[in-house]
């Protein structure tokens, strides 16, 4: 694979990550669990440390210069996210703890206001629990109906199936951008267009796409989009809900407390404008600074370049994995993202992961928080997932370790 043709040099990029530097206390790991969380570059760690050390203060309602500076940093992070997503304005960006909270916020605030008994919500069969359980619960609470958009046998979504599911009662289509199990890249812009034609809103779970390809909310024309900082080279404790301004205006607050209210008396309350209306209490300030640095890191490489690089690496991985006897890969081939869920002979995925771990290859095993999909696929899988710092040598090590696993379990 001619990585030189591409702007991305994974070896050079790894130098920007302490996790990949030799360290006396740590064994060096081939990290292929990026769908769970990514490692953090020095730039992110240092931005956060610098904030705690020298810039720390609470935001909102000033009083002193340090507070004003911290508020400015926090709002600069919001502007950075708005630009990163091509939102129309920073007010469309609400900071949350992560993807899960962002979707819970929508299900609770928007859902309980606009979804009524007899209405319908469409979720796909490949959703992560984060984009499934909130809708299941909302449907139960409101007496609405959950419609499941089944996947095809090769792990894709069929747009005609969506058209057949949509009715005039459909309020929302909830769809993952890239499946965290199958690696399927869903045509979210088309899905939004079809949903809108039927008068439904569309929410896109971008947890797995945000760090791996360009994500433009105006091009997709989604109503809501969610992602987590920690899967995009940023810290935990922060995520983003993007929502169209008009929706945020008509949604009631989610959590209530300080900072999201203009006036409170025993008789009346007046909420703040969005996005403040949805950010009760002290927000994740240091984490927002870290997310800002993480998105700058991604932009320093270029999302087109990242996508192209990871695409080539994915093609390589598909070729190499298919060489392993008894390996059964889920999800579409060849057109897919760098997330590979598989089984190997009758070896339980936890055992695969354990053997790989002894070879310092870090993957994940289980149902990957997508149980209904897991059932459809026949149970637990082992999952390797790529990020921009991985290269072909990591795939080689993975394949090598899979051969070892076969041997340990007595396969020739």
């Amino acid at each position: 694979m001619a990585t030189t043709r591409l702007a991305i040099d994974a070896h050079e990029i790894r130098r920007q990550f302490p996790f990949f530097q030799p360290h006396p206390e740590m064994r060096s790991v081939i990290y292929l669990d990026n769908a769970a969380t990514t490692q953090k570059p020095y730039a992110v760690i240092e931005a956060v440390s610098h904030f705690w050390a020298y810039q720390n203060a609470n935001v909102h309602r000033g009083g002193h210069g340090a507070g004003a500076k911290a508020s400015a940093l926090y709002e600069a992070a919001r502007e950075c996210v708005a630009k990163f997503l091509n939102a129309r304005e920073p007010a469309e960006i609400v900071f949350t703890r992560g993807t899960t909270e962002a979707i819970n916020l929508v299900a609770s605030s928007w859902g309980e206001t606009f979804v009524r008994a007899g209405d319908e919500i469409i979720v796909t069969e490949m959703e992560h629990h984060a984009n499934l359980l909130p809708w299941m619960r909302l449907a139960e609470k409101q007496g609405a109906t959950l419609r499941v958009w089944r996947i095809t046998d090769d792990g894709r979504l069929d747009l005609d199936a969506l058209r057949a599911l949509l009715t005039e009662r459909t309020r929302l289509v909830a769809v993952v951008h890239i499946s965290n199990v199958l690696g399927t890249v869903n045509p979210v812009a088309e899905i939004c267009r079809i949903a809108h034609e039927a008068g439904a809103r569309c929410l896109v779970d971008a947890a797995q796409s945000i760090a791996h390809m360009p994500v433009d909310v105006q091009a997709i024309d989604c109503d809501f989009l969610a992602f987590s900082g920690h899967k995009a080279y940023g810290p935990t404790g922060i995520g983003v809900l993007y929502a169209k301004r008009a929706l945020l205006e008509e949604m009631p607050p989610y959590q209530v407390g300080g900072g999201m209210v203009r006036i409170v008396s025993w008789e009346r309350r007046q909420w703040a404008e969005p996005p403040a209306k949805f950010e009760a209490g002290t927000p994740p300030i240091g984490e927002a600074v870290g997310l800002h640095a993480a998105l700058d890191f991604i932009d320093s490489l270029g999302r087109e370049a990242i996508a192209a690089y990871e695409h080539e690496l994915t093609e390589y991985a598909l070729r190499r994995l298919q060489e392993v006897p008894g390996l059964r890969l889920h999800g579409p081939v060849p057109d897919r993202a760098g997330i590979f869920a598989f089984t190997l002979e009758d070896i339980h995925p936890h055992d695969i992961a354990t053997v790989l771990d002894t070879r310092d290859v870090a993957i994940r095993s289980g149902l990957h928080c997508a149980h209904p999909l897991g059932e459809r696929l026949g149970g637990a899988t082992a999952r390797a997932s790529l990020a921009v710092y991985n290269d072909t040598s990591h795939i080689d090590a993975l394949v090598e370790a899979l051969h070892t696993t076969r041997k340990v379990f007595g396969y020739a």
């Binding site: 309602r61 000033g62 203009r262």
Partner: protein
């Protein structure tokens, strides 16, 4: 620097606000609020024949926001909408340090330039002016001055 911010004239407007209070209807009421510090300015306007016939303000907040509102009320009364809009732009530019203020035309208002060294307080000084700007935006759409 502090003495520039808290000039005698500012404190005087703060302690003895001009045109304080509310107008009887019919009127236009426009509320201004600075979420970052809680300052509040409410303007009551009566327009007639393209002029600001009368204006009052009330509100609460720091000396800068309230003095600025008092200066505004004092200075725009009797002005045409066009003149008022021009003045707003001039004051915003002054406060942000984009122009030097001419005491001849601006009077007391030049004292607001003292916020330039206090970035956090710029919003206090501009609050009343942005509020008036907002009120005048809708001026053409009022048929009856008493009802928005």
């Amino acid at each position: 620097m502090l003495n520039e911010l808290y000039q005698e004239i500012i404190l005087d407007h703060y302690r003895h606000p001009r045109s304080w209070g509310e107008l009887e209807p019919p009127k236009i009421t426009q509320e201004g609020f600075n979420p970052s510090c809680g300052d509040e300015v409410i303007l009551d306007l009566r327009l007639d024949d393209g002029r600001i016939e009368d204006i009052r303000f009330h509100g609460r907040g720091c000396s800068i926001s309230q003095a600025s509102a008092s200066m505004l009320a004092e200075s725009v009364k009797g002005k045409t909408l066009e003149e008022a809009r021009a003045l707003i732009q001039q004051v915003l530019a002054l406060v942000k340090g984009e122009i030097e203020g001419d005491p001849e035309t601006l009077g007391d208002i030049v004292a607001l330039a003292g916020v330039r060294n206090f970035p956090v307080r710029v919003k206090c000084a501009t609050l009343a002016w942005h509020t008036l700007e907002e009120a005048l935006k809708h001026a053409d759409s009022y048929t009856d001055w008493g009802v928005k």
